[in-house]
Symmetry: C3
Subunit: 131 residues, 3 copies
């Protein structure tokens, strides 16, 4: 298992981690299999989406906050129930295919760490499973 | 493959299954790899979220039902289209990393079975894949 | 790794691909393990839901579009920010268990490719990992 950290700077922020995941895959020496990327936090998530136009990430964050607003009928006293809901909607992990040493991603796909309750120091774990 | 059952008592209910998953992992004898937890139902799901304050789970259920209300412009005659939508939003499975015999979960992370159309008897399957 | 294509005919459309995934599994020769099905696109997704009553899929599409409407406060100039959001909400992949040569799916569960910005030609990748 390999792990790395990201330091987030805003309450809601998507940070591309494709290069970090590729580095973990290269270090593993595995050429064919799958790669699971896991966020070890209940107010964060991993997703795959477009890494070309930064407005896509802006729109994702604005509209996730429309679906899960910061203020609402919440009982959890820490004031971050919206962050927990986003985490469950987006999901704690993504699994990506590995073929002949390359991550199989579409032309515009990047792997993102999603911060929903920052700024914080966060940990991401990566496991590469050979075929 | 290992399987176990949960009996749910409400229409919407999240039941922590981390201990059951740990038992499946221990029985498998695998020390390093990944663990996929799968809900074999179209009106249920698996998620990972906080297992410390029960208000988090309460808030998740209330706000999932705000996003996917029981009544609406639905055609499916069984009256559980909201449950099917929640299942697709949350997802039928979670994959967790396994390192040196331990599930790699963050401090507050627990694995939950999500019932969206209970009460029912439900089946969860677990597969442990070695590295 | 195995890949196949689907041609979608509408902007929003769910197409069942369970048979195609089963064919990939049979070709792999693996009897026990997991199968990851991956959509190589940022405006599409993979989900598991009911394949008996087609009204379930109709209701899913209508209500995903209610949560992520085509028009809104979007900056991304391509006019498909709603499609990107749906992709992140539903997720780019599903992992299914494989036991004694059979995909482990519940009675009503089918695997679906979700088109959110069609019509288009799309690519789906499948990786089978033995236990």
């Amino acid at each position: 298992m390999r792990s790395f950290h990201v330091a987030t700077g805003q309450r809601n922020q998507m940070i591309e981690i494709t290069d970090e995941v590729r580095r973990c895959v290269a270090e593993s020496g595995v050429e064919d299999g799958i790669v699971t990327v896991f966020a070890a936090h209940t107010t964060a998530a991993i997703t795959i989406n477009e890494n070309a136009d930064p407005d896509v990430v802006r729109d994702l964050n604005v509209h996730l906050s429309r679906l899960s607003p910061e203020k609402g009928d919440y009982r959890h006293a820490e004031g971050n129930s919206d962050s927990h809901l986003k985490s469950t909607l987006v999901g704690a992990s993504e699994t990506v295919l590995l073929n002949r040493g390359r991550l199989i991603l579409g032309t515009w796909q990047g792997i993102y760490f999603c911060e929903f309750d920052g700024p914080r120091q966060r940990t991401i774990h990566v496991k590469v499973i050979g075929q």
